[in-house]
């Protein structure tokens, strides 16, 4: 029994971390436990969470993307700019196409030309950032609109619409990853590219699609963020790429690909969201908060690697 518990704890390190945080808060700050903090947590993680779902698919497929950090703010700006001119739904359509096109550019360079994803998405990030800043001249654009406001701040029984969309994204991603042939192919491609190719999987198409999905998801997340904040700004969500990569890795999805699940990423997002919420709740010094968050990421990654190595040793021992 103890052995099983410890095995569970090792493979779901992030649950243990969340439990530790909860116990700490229950002892020292019982006022933390209320429905409104729970609602706040969900709202806080939802927008980035949507990008995190797509990033999980990409990381399982052995790739990753920095350019989401400029697609997301670009999409908030475009939505704020286009909405009064051509209406809500046409602008949503255009922005999704924009995200998909940038994703396709990334995908083309990575899958067809076999360039390193880090450097490709770094260049597209810079280029899109440049286009975005030239477009808005570094200034935010207001996007006040009754309909989007009602959507962005509304809720059903206390759960925000945006959070519900996030849940739907998580479930759909889980379905795609576990129940469809595309999902199995993503796991195979990330696990061993050459073997997957020899097995007849069109690995290039898979890699290409990973980036297109990421482009769509981050453009969509930008639209939701604009609805919630009623403005577009070049600064909104510029830290999204690092934030979602950390959440994915904290959840236990391996950066080397081929292993992971979207529920793990969901837990990772909850942990990161809780951490920053708790720091705000106990009024910690803002810079210290960032410091501890960074340290926690480093610590968990090291612990996780240590666990994995022990597991591999055990497997080798058998």
């Amino acid at each position: 029994m103890i052995k099983r518990v410890s095995k569970f704890c090792k493979s779901y390190l992030v649950i243990v971390c969340i439990a530790v945080l909860l116990v700490f808060m229950a002892i020292f700050y019982p006022s933390y436990f209320s429905f409104s903090t729970f609602k706040g947590l969900l709202i806080q993680i939802s927008v980035y969470g949507i990008v995190a779902c797509a990033m999980t698919i990409a990381i399982i497929g052995g790739e990753f993307d920095l350019s989401v950090g400029s697609i997301l703010p670009f999409s908030t700006l475009l939505f704020a700019y286009l909405m009064p001119k051509i209406g809500i739904f046409p602008s949503i359509l255009l922005i999704l196409i924009m995200g998909g096109v940038i994703g396709a550019v990334n995908g083309f360079f990575v899958s067809v030309l076999k360039l390193n994803a880090f450097i490709v998405t770094l260049s597209t990030m810079l280029a899109v950032e440049g286009i975005m800043l030239t477009f808005c001249d570094g200034m935010p654009i207001p996007a006040v609109n009754k309909a989007t406001r009602a959507f962005g701040t509304g809720n059903i029984g206390g759960i925000a619409y945006i959070a519900i969309i996030f849940f739907i994204f998580v479930l759909v991603t889980h379905f795609v990853l576990t129940k469809t042939s595309f999902g199995r192919n993503v796991f195979a491609t990330g696990g061993n590219y050459n073997v997957a190719e020899y097995a007849g999987i069109s690995v290039k198409k898979i890699k290409f699609l990973l980036f297109v999905i990421l482009g769509f998801a981050s453009a969509f997340a930008g639209i939701l963020l604009t609805c919630r904040l009623q403005a577009g700004s070049p600064l909104y969500g510029s830290d999204v790429s690092m934030s979602v990569v950390s959440a994915t890795v904290l959840g236990g999805t391996s950066l080397s690909g081929g292993r992971g699940s979207v529920f793990r990423t969901f837990l990772g997002m909850i942990f990161i969201g809780m951490l920053s919420q708790i720091f705000t709740h106990i009024n910690a010094y803002a810079y210290l908060q960032q410091l501890i968050q960074g340290a926690v990421v480093v610590a968990i990654v090291i612990l996780d690697a240590w666990n994995n190595r022990k597991r591999e040793d055990e497997l080798a021992g058998i």
Binding site: F118, I119, L122, V245, Q290
Partner: protein, 330 residues
């Protein structure tokens, strides 16, 4: 006949790609010189070198890390915190000791980076996430030290010698950068340590199995990167007469970009400090040329992104050409 033809073609391709970077550089210089003759004055050329020396110092350390098969995203934050340390310690220890302590903290923090990275397996992915986490830690530590404010150094005349003084016509920062380039090239190209850095970049497991302490090599690579970041931080602070806790943000991407632009390969094994020098000069000349020609900061980012992508594409072609050369030789 056919084979000879393809050999000649391969050779041509090889030469074109080998000197491709140089021709791009010459092209940029000619175009910028025609549009604005002020670009070609001696003063402007010295300015270019002054502007690139901080990024260049970072890029030297980054070359070691990238050749060893890793990446160091923490150098920007490392630069901030070491710059801040070198300024806030002056009242207590005096200028030379404060600078030494800043260099020492860069070295020690770099060693920590190395220990953490090798504890997580030393792969590309782990070095990415670990050094990213460290960059958050170090960046916010710098903010904690100064309480978010900028530490001014204009009171300390001797501190500003490095950033603003000259040896003859050469600014001291530029001299430091060039000395580090030469020393770095000697270490990387002529010593056993340098060869081992290449080895762990190609195949760490094989290197370890042949009896080499790969962990020590990996840790020292990150230590070098930390040290160079500290040096870059001090040069920058001394040039701008103050230490901002966020001054280094974004420098890490520039450093990676120039290393790859020079032609060292992501994933390890191939590269040299000369190549990095080439990358640094191209980036410096390009930025300066865009300024001189009158392109504003925002569109410059677009150009930069496109240039990096183009450089990596050329690198791909040169790798192919090299392989073809080898194949035809056999």
């Amino acid at each position: 006949m056919n084979r000879q033809n393809s050999q000649a073609g391969g050779k041509l391709n090889y030469i074109a790609s080998k000197y491709g970077m140089l021709s791009i550089l010459v092209l940029i210089i000619i175009v910028a010189g025609i549009i604005n003759p002020a670009f070609l004055t001696g003063q402007n050329i010295i300015n270019i070198f002054k502007q690139i020396s901080a990024t260049g110092l970072l890029a030297i350390g980054m070359t070691f890390v990238i050749i060893s098969g890793g990446i160091d995203l923490s150098v920007g934050a490392m630069m901030s915190i070491c710059g801040v340390i070198s300024v806030v310690l002056i009242p207590r220890f005096g200028v030379p000791a404060a600078m030494l302590l800043a260099l020492l903290s860069g070295l020690v923090l770099g060693i920590f980076n190395g220990i953490f990275v090798s504890a997580t397996g030393g792969t590309m992915g782990s070095s990415f996430i670990i050094t990213f986490g460290m960059s958050t830690v170090l960046g916010s530590a710098a903010l904690c030290i100064t309480n978010g404010a900028i530490a001014y150094a204009s009171k300390y005349k001797s501190y500003m010698v490095i950033g603003q003084g000259y040896w003859g016509v050469i600014p001291i920062t530029v001299a430091i950068f060039l000395i580090c380039i030469v020393v770095g090239q000697i270490i990387l190209g002529k010593t056993g340590f340098g060869r081992l850095v290449h080895c762990i970049g190609v195949n760490e497991e094989a290197t370890r199995l042949s009896g080499i302490r790969t962990r020590v090599i990996r840790i020292s690579v990150y230590a070098i990167s930390g040290l160079m970041a500290a040096a870059g931080g001090i040069c920058l602070c001394s040039r701008v007469r103050s230490a901002s806790p966020t001054q280094g943000a974004g420098y890490e991407l520039d450093a990676i970009a120039v290393v790859l632009l020079g032609g060292s390969r992501m994933g390890g094994g191939a590269g040299s400090i000369w190549k990095t020098l080439m990358g640094v000069v191209i980036m410096g000349v390009l930025t300066n040329a865009l300024n001189v020609v009158g392109v504003t900061a925002y569109p410059q980012k677009i150009v930069r992104g496109v240039i990096i992508l183009a450089a990596v594409l050329m690198d791909l072609r040169s790798a192919k050409a090299e392989n073809e050369m080898l194949a035809t030789k056999v």
